[in-house]
Symmetry: C2
Subunit: 319 residues, 2 copies
């Protein structure tokens, strides 16, 4: 691939939808920098839920019913593991397992996560760059009223039920952005940086917590645009609104834009929230951001890129 013209920052399912739209428009010129704060060690395997969702989504292998994992999946392993008394709260399909086992083997052999994911992406026929945010482990920790939880304990085992008081990104302070992410963000070829409609707290903040990313975004020649993860005060899927409420933040697009303060040149607002436009201090594009079909993803991606192309560079942190 030549230097990416568009760089997306993404978490799991919601972000991957827009990433897929961008990929359909720019199959050879997209880089997706993916959150690894969700990664965890389970059953002796290193599992990277958001990276894998990005891989499966771009490869056309994602499971449309579950919203995670692979389509045409079988579940024999999980049944046999239950029979042996193993831990089954985190569901792993038989085909999905191949990625976890192969990744774990290669990481233990000393390869970087970036190298493994680049190879897997190529094997799956993906022509975009899928870039874990860092090759160093970063692990999101959820602080709740009743104690601290590892991310997947909160997200999957406890189904996001505990009330969040704060978040911490273990390892982030010692991590560096993945080299290919640095290369993409510093490239003169960059035309747009898109913060996908992922959960700002769970999916984008871990990326921004890695020292360097905020500066890389600020210094890029490309405008930075966030796409709202809220429509009418609710997330399409996931606990974004619930977490904002728990943290005492209004569940509004303006609060999302505020959360990214200093990073953005533009914000894509859902048409159902058009009246909020005046609360925003950056350029706004209003459209239907709900992505049901593949055509929706492509249309939203096209609008985001058109919006980026005409944006003046206004963001505060630019040097």
């Amino acid at each position: 691939m030549s230097a990416p013209r568009v760089i997306a920052l993404s978490g799991g399912i919601g972000g991957a939808k827009l990433a897929l739209g961008l990929y359909r428009l720019l199959p050879e010129a997209l880089a997706v920098i993916v959150n690894t704060g969700d990664d965890f060690e389970h059953l002796g395997l290193t599992i990277c839920p958001d990276v894998d969702t990005a891989l499966y989504t771009l490869a056309g292998l994602a499971n449309p019913e579950l919203g995670w994992g692979r389509r045409d999946e079988s579940w024999t392993f999980m049944r046999a593991l239950a029979e042996l008394g193993g831990e089954t709260w985190f569901r792993l399909g038989d085909a999905d397992l191949a990625l976890h086992i192969e990744r774990t083997r290669r990481l233990q052999a000393g390869e970087t996560l970036s190298k493994v994911i680049t190879d897997v992406a190529r094997r799956l026929g993906i022509t975009a760059a899928v870039l874990p945010m860092s090759d160093a482990p970063v692990r999101t920790r959820i602080l709740t009223a009743t104690g601290e939880l590892a991310f997947q304990d909160y997200f999957v085992r406890r189904r996001c039920e505990p009330q969040i008081t704060a978040l911490r990104f273990d390892g982030a302070a010692r991590a560096l952005p993945a080299p290919a992410a640095i290369a993409a963000l510093t490239s003169p070829a960059a035309e747009a940086i898109v913060i996908c409609p992922s959960n700002p707290y769970l999916s984008i903040d871990p990326i921004l917590a890695v020292p360097g990313f905020r500066r890389l975004l600020a210094d890029s020649v490309a405008p930075v645009i966030a796409v709202t993860p809220l429509i009418g005060g609710e997330a399409v899927k996931g606990p974004t609104a619930k977490i904002m409420a728990e943290l005492g933040v209004p569940t509004t697009p303006a609060a999302i834009a505020q959360h990214y303060e200093g990073l953005l040149d533009g914000f894509v607002l859902d048409e159902r929230d058009a009246s909020c436009a005046r609360e925003l201090t950056v350029a706004v594009h209003v459209t239907d951001t709900l992505m049901r079909s593949l055509a929706d993803r492509e249309r939203l991606a096209r609008e985001v890129l058109a919006f980026a192309a005409k944006l003046p560079r206004t963001r505060m942190e630019r040097g």
Copy 2:
């Protein structure tokens, strides 16, 4: 389980057939001490082919077509691993994988192999004791005319084609018999010790190479009986005859008995080799040793136990 009355020493498929016959007769009073020299680390997992064959066979889960692995197995993992460019020469079914992953996790957490296998056996409803020969790793190495091979490289990847010049059991000298194996062999309740019709070189020798086993067999109150793995100069399955030829040993039951010299009180000879009886220096029982059906397994097991019950204790090493 109360103290086992019968203790079988076994490798994989051939030995497990007789072990199953014994298990059908004595579901609550059998211990099977299983070779772990075939064990290996693959894809980051600790795999114990002979132990697993014993488990699946006694649990009624063995794959009758393949002779290894589980019945009603699916192969989604293997297809996905191939897609990712992973190593596929050693085939792992989706359900089988659960055992490897759960075992590896528990070993890495510091549990002994004995403990893990005891728990798995109970989970699978097995009332016999399935005992890995040792909790310390022993790894069979195959010396060939063209170099040394790890066991599974020889057995699976090279399909037993290289010519064997010698065998070595790495780790055996530092290993100890598993505590439950010691307890079974020293129990006053022991009525018979059966060396199953497994490959003497690949399956039984690794057990005997662990310091203590020869003495435990010699000192047991029970008679020791070997069941021939050869019928008419050929093994029912596997490379026993080929290896004997390569090592310059006649492919005869007498040579098998000779191989176990000093350990045996009795030898079970196939009726097709009845004329060899006079070459043997221990008590002989002649019968049809070919096990096609479950009834065959039970009949042979019954004959072996009846033979043991009437055997004078003659073996040389007894103190």
